[in-house]
């Protein structure tokens, strides 16, 4: 098993002690097949137990270990050390306040997620005796790729619009709203449109596309947001041009 010394520059910040964040350099003996998360775990276990970061599954499913690796939002469990040369710089996700070291405050994202009601709102409440809400494979495929979001927030760290305008609902929240709007079993689109078809919603997006480039699950939030724009525009035309549709 090949082993090599890897140099990591990790951003450290303890708000109770540090005036501002600073970098700390670690030299870590790493195995060839390790990812950045393994190196961080090695630091915590053997070099510096005070280092803080979030992680859980180690298999790109839980979305906990997102961080900036050499300036790019990545899942640290998905970033192989062998793909990097020289010093690897590890920072907390951009565009979020730092809670401590590599841990960010995710409250803003969680709040936005709640606002778009990312759950099924049945259009008709049928009795349990009538059975489940069924769906054809074609109806499933309509939204399936958008349902792969793991809420890792990499898209928020990559989005220049969110960096400029923190009120922007952001890629993941709008994508999840769109995912449920496309679901044949859902009837909550009108409620979600009041949140997402707004200036702070989808119209804040200028289609940079960085969200889709960094998404580790190929969800394509940029595509979802453009589809929401098209659907919202059609809503507007229907409301203003077709007789009997004005609100």
């Amino acid at each position: 098993m090949n082993e090599r010394m890897v140099h990591l520059e990790v951003l450290r910040y303890d708000p109770q002690v540090d005036g501002e964040p600073h970098f700390q350099r670690y030299e870590v003996p790493c195995k060839e097949e390790w990812v950045v998360l393994d190196a961080l775990n090695a630091i915590k276990e053997s070099i510096d137990p005070t280092l803080n970061y979030r992680w859980s599954c180690h298999m790109a499913v839980c979305g906990s270990c997102g961080m900036m690796i050499n300036g790019e939002p990545r899942l640290s469990c998905h970033a192989f050390l062998r793909d990097f040369e020289g010093v690897i710089r590890v920072e907390p996700l951009a565009n979020f306040p730092i809670e401590r070291d590599l841990v960010t405050v995710a409250d803003d994202f969680i709040d936005k997620l709640k606002r778009v009601k990312p759950y099924l709102i049945p259009g008709e409440n049928k009795p349990i005796a009538e059975g489940e809400y069924t769906q054809t494979p074609a109806q499933l495929m309509k939204y399936r790729h958008f349902s792969m979001c793991i809420n890792c927030m990499l898209c928020y760290a990559a989005c220049p619009q969110y960096a400029l305008q923190p009120l922007f609902l952001g890629p993941a929240a709008i994508t999840l709203a769109h995912r449920y709007n496309l679901d044949s079993r859902d009837g909550g689109r009108e409620e979600r449109q009041q949140v997402i078809a707004t200036n702070e919603g989808v119209w804040e997006c200028s289609f940079v596309g960085a969200c889709s480039e960094v998404c580790p699950k190929a969800v394509d939030p940029a595509g979802a947001l453009q589809q929401v724009k098209v659907a919202s525009t059609l809503d507007w035309f229907r409301e203003h041009l077709l007789p009997g549709n004005a609100k």
């Binding site: 074609a138 495929m141 960085a210 889709s212 940029a222 595509g223 453009q226 098209v230």
Partner: protein, 108 residues
């Protein structure tokens, strides 16, 4: 960089839209006013300027056509139409509309 190059084209498209508004305004003032406007925008510098605008307009169209499959996916059964067909449809429409414009302008 791709995004910035796409977005910067709007400055040139906006400038051309203003020029078009001026043309419409002069047209509303009568034939003589419109013809003097045409004379005013004829010349090597105008040709150079309009050529630059045309290059940016083409870049704008191409960059947007290339991302249309994201905004306008076409589902067929359980699959999606490959994006290249959606892009190709836009190019086909672009060519047909351009030919129609040239035809009605008396160029063809």
């Amino acid at each position: 960089m791709r995004y910035m190059s796409r977005e910067v084209t709007c400055v040139f498209i906006g400038a051309f839209a203003l020029l078009l508004l001026c043309a419409v305004e002069r047209l509303s003032e009568g034939q003589a006013a419109y013809e003097s406007f045409l004379v005013a925008i004829t010349g090597p510098w105008s040709t150079l300027g309009l050529s630059i605008v045309w290059i940016f307009a083409v870049h704008n169209a191409i960059s947007w056509f290339n991302v249309t499959p994201k905004a306008l996916p076409v589902q067929i059964g359980e699959g999606f139409l490959p994006g290249r067909f959606i892009v190709a449809a836009h190019y086909a429409a672009w060519i047909l509309i351009s030919l129609a414009v040239l035809f009605f302008a008396g160029v063809l």
